[in-house]
Symmetry: C2
Subunit: 324 residues, 2 copies
């Protein structure tokens, strides 16, 4: 874990050393504000670890790694407008602190900034790096679109949900790893394996997040438990429950999903009970574990530095440790 | 003009042959809708003419040229949300036809699409092409930010206005020309001259647009005359008038700028009269001509194919012909 912590600190100190402010202030201040909120910097850390895995000095690929973090924060900024979110990381969101127009335009500028950072790499690697980045970025937009559409659709399947989280969450994690591999000149096959490790870890990670939203521990989860249940968010849990429920459970679940006025705690308790009765909590854990195992199996096959591979395994398990 | 028309048709037929639709439909349909609205395709035409000027077969650089048109239309799409515009090219804007969230996200996807098209160029040219594009794109965002800020500021200077239109309008025209030059392997000095031609033509073009908004002919201008005057838009005309006005004119102009309830025709007639009395209409034409002359002088110095140079001059004059 020492190396991971070191990489994380390197990412943060590099990000902090860059002055994102500029003229016009209103355009650049939201970018600096967003990037100063911290976070785990998972994407650049994964990118740098992948580069290290294939023997690259990570200080030579810091900028593209930071580009991933800037892009990720751009998506949060625009998503927050679309979701009308008031708070992010205990601070007002950009469209709350400034306004929606400022958030749209600063987001646009932030995406261009992300491109500029991604491009600060070895010229020989640029075509591959930029093609990967553009295709991942477009996929993330597709994922966000599906996520928004699911809110008003009543026929979402579990497979559609899994495809949505693959695009919205897993793709950028996988792309971050693959970018590191590309910049480190890894063989095509290894770049593909590390990408698949990322996709599967991303799927496991998102399924875990959904699981914890209902079954997590208030203290360690960080957010209020039950938010997804209250909002009828179409997660793996709800979609699987809707598919499995019959008779009594079916009408009971439908009642809770459609009722307009309810006591929050009562709804959370009741829906969790249905989930448990239908074993969708267990099913979710099994699914999670399957993705996790596939991820580890992909990583095992990678022909890279063993010590870094072990650290990547540790990092993956650290990201998952809250329920494992 | 035959060649220009041919290039314009090539751009349109190529754009029409590309299927911008895809899944999810809601994400891609607004992109296809926006690009199907037509327009003069000035940016790709300039890019291709610049490539031709330096001896490049334009069919080999079509995709980067289209990337410029896609980017331009992305800026219109997001600007329309920020300006709350209902109509663009006689059709409902994207956020009107769909909704604001769809317009934000489709715009994001469109910007990424623009990057993908720009990148479809000779790998050796990619670093320069993408660096130019990113820097131009960021500048356009800065221009839009200044434009929005000017609406609520009362101390905007003429120089600030000129810098705003340089960023918002001239930069992308100049960047389009320079991209064509870069892709055609033009010497650095010629790429710089063609860029300066673009900046100056862009300035002249925008000043003309502002002039015509007040003094144009309803039939040939296409939009309703006087919109800027009604909205107190801080154009070269108004800012110069505010700077030059004294005594009677000053109080008269201030009255029209601050009055809340007024007859539109009466305000337009009165403000135009003040402009004429202060000779800001003439001053605007002189400024326009100065930019135009500088543009032509830059173009004259370019060491490129004379026949294409002549066509670029014709094209520039065609864009300006409405008042020249």
């Amino acid at each position: 874990m020492h190396n991971i912590k070191h990489i994380q600190e390197l990412v943060n100190s590099e990000l902090n050393s860059i002055n994102f402010n500029g003229e016009p202030k209103q355009l650049y201040a939201p970018i600096a504000y967003t990037l100063a909120q911290g976070g785990k910097r998972i994407r650049p850390v994964l990118c740098l670890m992948a580069a290290q895995l294939f023997g690259k000095d990570i200080t030579t690929v810091l900028y593209p790694a930071l580009g991933l973090e800037i892009f990720h924060n751009f998506t949060l900024l625009h998503d927050d407008i679309m979701d009308n979110a008031q708070v992010r990381r205990n601070k007002p969101t950009v469209h709350e602190k400034w306004n929606a127009n400022a958030a749209i335009l600063s987001g646009d500028a932030m995406m261009i900034k992300a491109h500029q950072f991604i491009c600060r790499c070895d010229e020989k690697k640029l075509p591959q790096a930029i093609a990967l980045f553009n295709s991942v970025a477009l996929g993330v937009c597709e994922g966000q679109q599906y996520d928004m559409e699911f809110e008003t659709r009543s026929d979402v399947s579990v497979d559609e949900y899994l495809e949505m989280i693959r695009l919205k969450t897993a793709l950028l994690l996988a792309g971050s790893l693959k970018l590191g591999a590309i910049l480190a000149n890894a063989p095509h096959q290894d770049a593909e394996l590390i990408y698949q490790f990322g996709i599967n870890i991303g799927m496991a990670f998102q399924l875990q997040d959904d699981y914890l939203d209902s079954f997590g521990n208030q203290q360690t989860f960080g957010k209020k438990i039950g938010g997804d249940i209250i909002a009828n968010k179409k997660t793996f849990l709800l979609l699987t429950a809707l598919r499995k429920a019959e008779n009594q459970e079916k009408s009971n679940l439908n009642k809770w999903v459609t009722v307009k006025h309810f006591d929050c705690e009562q709804k959370i308790t009741a829906v969790k009970k249905i989930y448990q009765k239908l074993s969708v909590d267990t099913e979710s854990k099994i699914k999670m574990q399957a993705y996790y195992d596939t991820a580890i199996s992909c990583l095992t096959k990678v022909d890279g530095q063993q010590v870094v591979k072990n650290e990547l395994m540790d990092y993956a398990s650290q990201l998952m440790q809250r329920i494992k």
